[in-house]
């Protein structure tokens, strides 16, 4: 009760002392003058108030600010010195004094003044920070850094300086020093890791900073797990994934998180298309993890990574640049690991969408990479029979239809393709593919009306990959209906291409082309025949046919395509880059509206760069 009474008396006394109505009004008037930009009038009023009451801190501050605003630095100095004479130990007055000298351009004197309270209180850490703040206010960052470093060496708690120092080093772009300070903070308090990480990563993209950071953080590695973590992230950022992986392994051994952290790292690698490292990381995660959910995710990631690597290798081994090519299949041993990985995924995620995806992948690997048609069919049939709502249902139907075509069961292929349209949730791509195959099968039967109907469904949507092929076929269907035998033979040859029977297809194309009554087919058949030559690696024969097409110029609708294929042969088969560039240039010159123009333009730039690099290397 006594305490409360004393408090009320003191408060009321202070309140009355500060609210002298005349002085308060005068002070408000001065503030109004200041806001209106009439500084001289404001100074006049506050000076009078200050003379009357020199101990009033508000009057002192206001007067100081007004003098500084109007650049009356000498007067400001006198004001501070008067006050200093009565308060010689007030560090804030030295702070102001230093600030005024700094504004006057007397930097050394400013520093001397700021150093006075420091020399008077060398063991008080707050004085260092206080003077540093006055220096920071004037953007004298180097002086502030000097004060803080001095304070840090004198202090029992260097961490209270390290954060300020880190910030100042960051502002002044002394990133190495900033990283060192932040590491020092972590040595003392590992709980600061999230703050430190975000600070360091805010400037890591500056030139050369990442390499320097790695070097510095590396020296702290033995001072705690947080540094290994930070270093691993820095390695990841600099795309040194193997080194990051080694560190994550170490962290896992020391910390035993159950593999979650390392799994996150692996998933990141997949997104970056770093499949080789991702594969190792997933394998490791699978081995070390005891958590079933992490183990399962690792297995799925491992299988997807293995598959991506497998397809990359397969594409490298095959001539994917050709319109059609005879695949060089892989042996079962080359795909064994991927398939067994997917089989494990199926066991782990039974009946889920992931399991269906795994089954579909197994089917495609068996079909396209191993040429194991029966095994592939089994996988697709299982999906079709057991997972009708899966997104892989229509895809599996499509693959099954192609298998049926290959084994000459066209009728069944047709029935399967027709089923795709009845699926509620099928993708556009699957639907369009089915129409395309169906049109060829109907043409093969001589049912040109149904073939046209299916083709129309594709050409009504011009933004898909099939449009051009569909338009070509549609053109033939429209203009060559009367020559039904040739049209059927043409469709037969097209189906033979799907089944990769290129030689047989070529025989048919050549037969049609030789028929004098099938003039309409000649450009189509000549191009297809050339494409069959390319598929069969008979480049000389292919080149002759392409030259023949190209020499017809605008009379042949495939002249630009012929040039394009010639360019491709020069580039990929003969490795004759200048001749390839020449062909691409001809496309731009002679067929500026060709659909191959954009690709030709890009190829010219790319190949010219390669040629120049080759010259430099030589």
């Amino acid at each position: 009760m006594k305490f409360l009474l004393t408090y009320i008396i003191i408060t009321v006394t202070l309140l009355f002392a500060q609210t002298d109505p005349f002085e308060a009004n005068q002070y408000m008037l001065a503030e109004n003058y200041e806001q209106a930009g009439n500084y001289l009038k404001a100074i006049e009023i506050v000076e009078k108030l200050f003379q009357k009451n020199p101990d009033n801190q508000n009057y002192f501050n206001k007067l100081y600010n007004l003098y500084v605003t109007t650049k009356k630095y000498e007067t400001a100095l006198r004001l501070i010195e008067i006050r200093l004479s009565s308060n010689p130990d007030d560090p804030s007055l030295y702070g102001l004094l230093g600030s005024v000298y700094y504004l006057m351009g007397e930097l050394n004197t400013a520093k001397e003044k700021w150093e006075i309270p420091i020399s008077k209180n060398p063991n008080n850490p707050f004085i260092y920070r206080m003077m540093a703040n006055y220096a920071i206010e004037r953007r004298a960052f180097e002086m502030a850094i000097e004060f803080l470093i001095k304070g840090k060496t004198r202090s029992d708690d260097p961490s209270m300086f390290a954060m300020d120092l880190g910030e100042l080093f960051m502002i002044t772009m002394q990133y190495e020093s900033a990283i060192k300070e932040y590491c020092e903070i972590l040595v003392i308090n590992q709980g600061m890791y999230p703050v430190v990480e975000s600070k360091i990563f805010s400037f890591i993209n500056k030139p050369d900073v990442i390499q320097k950071s790695i070097k510095i953080v590396g020296t702290y590695q033995n001072k705690g797990l947080v540094f290994k973590n930070l270093l691993a992230k820095l390695y990841t950022e600099s795309r040194q994934f193997d080194k990051a992986f080694d560190l994550y392994k170490e962290i896992e051994t020391l910390q035993s998180t159950g593999g979650q952290q390392i799994l996150n790292f692996a998933n990141f690698l997949i997104n970056e298309n770093e499949f080789e490292v991702a594969k190792k990381v997933f394998e490791y995660t699978y081995i070390i993890s005891e958590n079933t959910s992490i183990k399962a995710s690792a297995k799925l990631g491992q299988a997807r990574t293995l598959e991506a690597i497998l397809w990359n290798n397969f594409n490298k081994q095959n001539d994917v640049w050709k319109t059609f090519y005879q695949p060089k299949f892989f042996s079962e041993s080359a795909t064994k690991d991927v398939i067994s990985s997917y089989e494990e995924v199926i066991k782990l995620f039974r009946y889920s969408d992931v399991a269906v995806e795994a089954l579909f992948s197994i089917g495609r690997i068996n079909f396209y990479i191993n040429n194991e048609i029966q095994k592939a069919e089994e996988a697709f049939v299982e999906i079709v029979n057991n997972y009708p709502t899966s997104r892989f249902y229509s895809k599996s139907l499509l693959e099954l239809a192609i298998i049926k075509l290959i084994i000459n069961n066209n009728q069944e292929a047709k029935e399967i393709l027709k089923r795709i349209e009845t699926v509620v949730s099928y993708s556009d791509e699957d639907k369009l593919s089915s129409y395309f195959y169906l049109s060829k099968l109907y043409a093969l039967e001589g049912n040109f009306a149904a073939a046209s109907e299916n083709i129309k469904k594709i050409t009504s949507n011009v933004k898909n990959d099939f449009t051009n092929d569909a338009l070509e076929f549609s053109l033939l269907l429209n203009i060559a209906k009367n020559d039904s035998i040739s049209l059927i033979n043409y469709a037969k040859a097209e189906v033979l291409i799907i089944t990769k029977k290129f030689k047989e297809a070529q025989v048919l194309f050549d037969e049609i082309a030789l028929n004098q009554q099938s003039l309409v087919f000649q450009p189509f058949c000549l191009l297809k025949s050339a494409e069959m030559d390319i598929a069969l690696n008979d480049y000389d024969s292919g080149m002759k046919k392409l030259d023949q097409i190209y020499s017809s110029k605008e009379k042949n609708i495939f002249s630009d395509k012929a040039l394009y294929l010639k360019a491709k042969i020069f580039e990929n088969a003969f490795k004759d880059l200048p001749s390839a560039v020449e062909c691409y240039q001809k496309i731009l010159i002679e067929f500026p509206k060709s659909i191959y123009s954009d690709e030709s333009r890009e190829s010219i730039i790319r190949l010219n760069n390669e040629i120049n690099v080759g010259k430099k290397d030589a």
Binding site: G37, T69, M173, R601
Partner: protein, 421 residues
């Protein structure tokens, strides 16, 4: 007197023999052109390689006629620029149409590719600036220069200088209120402060005034200055405020002169006069030169119109306004457009927002050089903000707004002709 017909014959024979023997590459710049922006690059590089080029003012959108060479034709094909190979005789027919007194057209011979400098701070990205963006796209070579180069006198090495959204007043773009805590703002201020100390200045604003003075000297000595966005008004403000401190404490450490407005010297500026400074450091505006968004209103109605000039009597403004479109979509910037009443009488207005006091594009002479100011930041990004992704010019190959920038880079290549009297 008898010799006259013979001499005339010799002259005509010599002149036309050159033309007749030489096939030309005709690059149309009307709406049929597939890539207007790269067409400038093709012409620029042809000049660099020593080929002659003519700029056919007001002929099919300001087309180009370049000496035929396989390498140029090939380049047009690769870059996707529409062109026609025409015979010398066809070229003569075009020349005679263009030079006919009845047509508001003319031929300007482009002699030499100008050397281009772009004023940018270190660490800048091409997409920070519409000019560098379009120079990169059109593959026109340029050098980057900053305060150090300007202060040591390197401007004399260049024919053309471009300034973009720099702030010559030393107030760091007046971004303080919104971005003072952003890392890029902190770094930018530090960079300028260090640079000022390095060049012997106590304050950034003092250094920027010296830079502005040096640029003015460069223009006076025959340089071509092109400025966009906030470089336009902030440059003139810096010149007017040469002897007065207009920067508040957060920009240069001390308070601004309370009487700064009264102390401005408008005789020192290039383009603007009688403007009123915005002294509030928290307001993102330098002065009343710039048109405010509220004055522009609905962005759907923001279009500006190019003036028509007489090609034969006013070739310079005609060159600067060559375009395939006359009415162009507006775009904003830190400085979007200029207030008509604050533009000096000696300055030529090239484009305006019709029936308003909002001027988009101006040109003037100073000493032996010229200056062109173009308001706004990015002609194909209406409201480009800090941190926005860069504009992909592959999507704007026919941008009339960007064309105006490129007119400026070819204009210094033009041969000066005697005016008809």
């Amino acid at each position: 007197m008898k010799k006259f017909p013979f001499l005339l014959f010799v002259f005509l024979f010599t002149f036309f023999r050159g033309i007749l023997a030489q096939d030309k590459i005709f690059i149309p710049m009307d709406i049929s052109q597939t890539d207007h922006l790269k067409a400038y690059g093709i012409t620029f590089r042809a000049l660099e390689k020593g080929y002659k080029a003519d700029w056919l003012l007001n002929y099919k959108g300001g087309s180009f006629l370049v000496d035929f060479a396989d390498e140029i034709a090939r380049e047009c094909l690769i870059e996707g620029v529409k062109f026609e190979k025409i015979s010398g005789a066809s070229a003569i027919s075009i020349y005679s149409e263009v030079q006919n007194d009845d047509n508001n057209m003319d031929v300007i011979r482009l002699e030499k590719a100008p050397k281009i400098a772009v004023y940018v701070p270190p660490g800048f990205q091409p997409w920070d600036d519409a000019v560098t963006l379009v120079l990169e796209y059109a593959k026109v070579p340029y050098d980057k220069i900053w305060n150090d180069e300007i202060l040591k006198g390197d401007l004399s090495k260049y024919d053309w200088l471009h300034l973009h959204h720099e702030d010559f007043t030393g107030q760091y773009g007046k971004f303080y209120a919104s971005f003072s805590n952003a890392q890029w703002y902190i770094e930018q201020q530090m960079l300028y402060e260090k640079n000022a100390v390095k060049n012997g200045f106590k304050k950034v604003s003092e250094m920027m005034k010296e830079v502005a003075r040096t640029i003015k000297y460069y223009v006076g000595n025959g340089g071509f200055l092109f400025a966009m966005c906030s470089a336009t008004d902030s440059y003139d403000i810096a010149l007017a405020a040469e002897d007065v401190d207009i920067c508040a404490q957060m920009y240069d450490g001390d308070a601004a002169d309370p009487d700064a407005q009264k102390k401005l010297d408008f005789s020192k500026t290039l383009a603007f006069t009688n403007f009123k400074l915005e002294m509030n450091p928290y307001i993102y505006e330098y002065s009343d030169i710039d048109i405010q968004p509220t004055e522009i209103g609905n962005m759907d109605n923001d279009y500006f119109t190019l003036f028509d000039f007489s090609a034969k009597y006013d070739p310079v403004p005609t060159m600067l306004t060559q375009n395939h479109a006359n009415v162009i979509k507006g775009f904003m910037g830190q400085t979007t457009m200029f207030r008509r009443e604050l533009i000096k009488n000696s300055v030529i207005i090239l484009a305006e927002r019709q029936n308003t006091n909002q001027i988009k594009y101006i040109h003037g002479n100073f000493g032996r050089g010229t200056f062109t100011f173009y308001g706004g930041h990015d002609p194909e990004d209406y409201q480009h903000a800090v941190g926005d992704p860069p504009t992909d010019l592959n999507l704007y190959k026919n941008s009339p707004g960007y064309r105006l920038i490129l007119n400026n880079i070819l204009f210094p290549a033009a041969t000066k002709k005697k005016q008809k009297t």
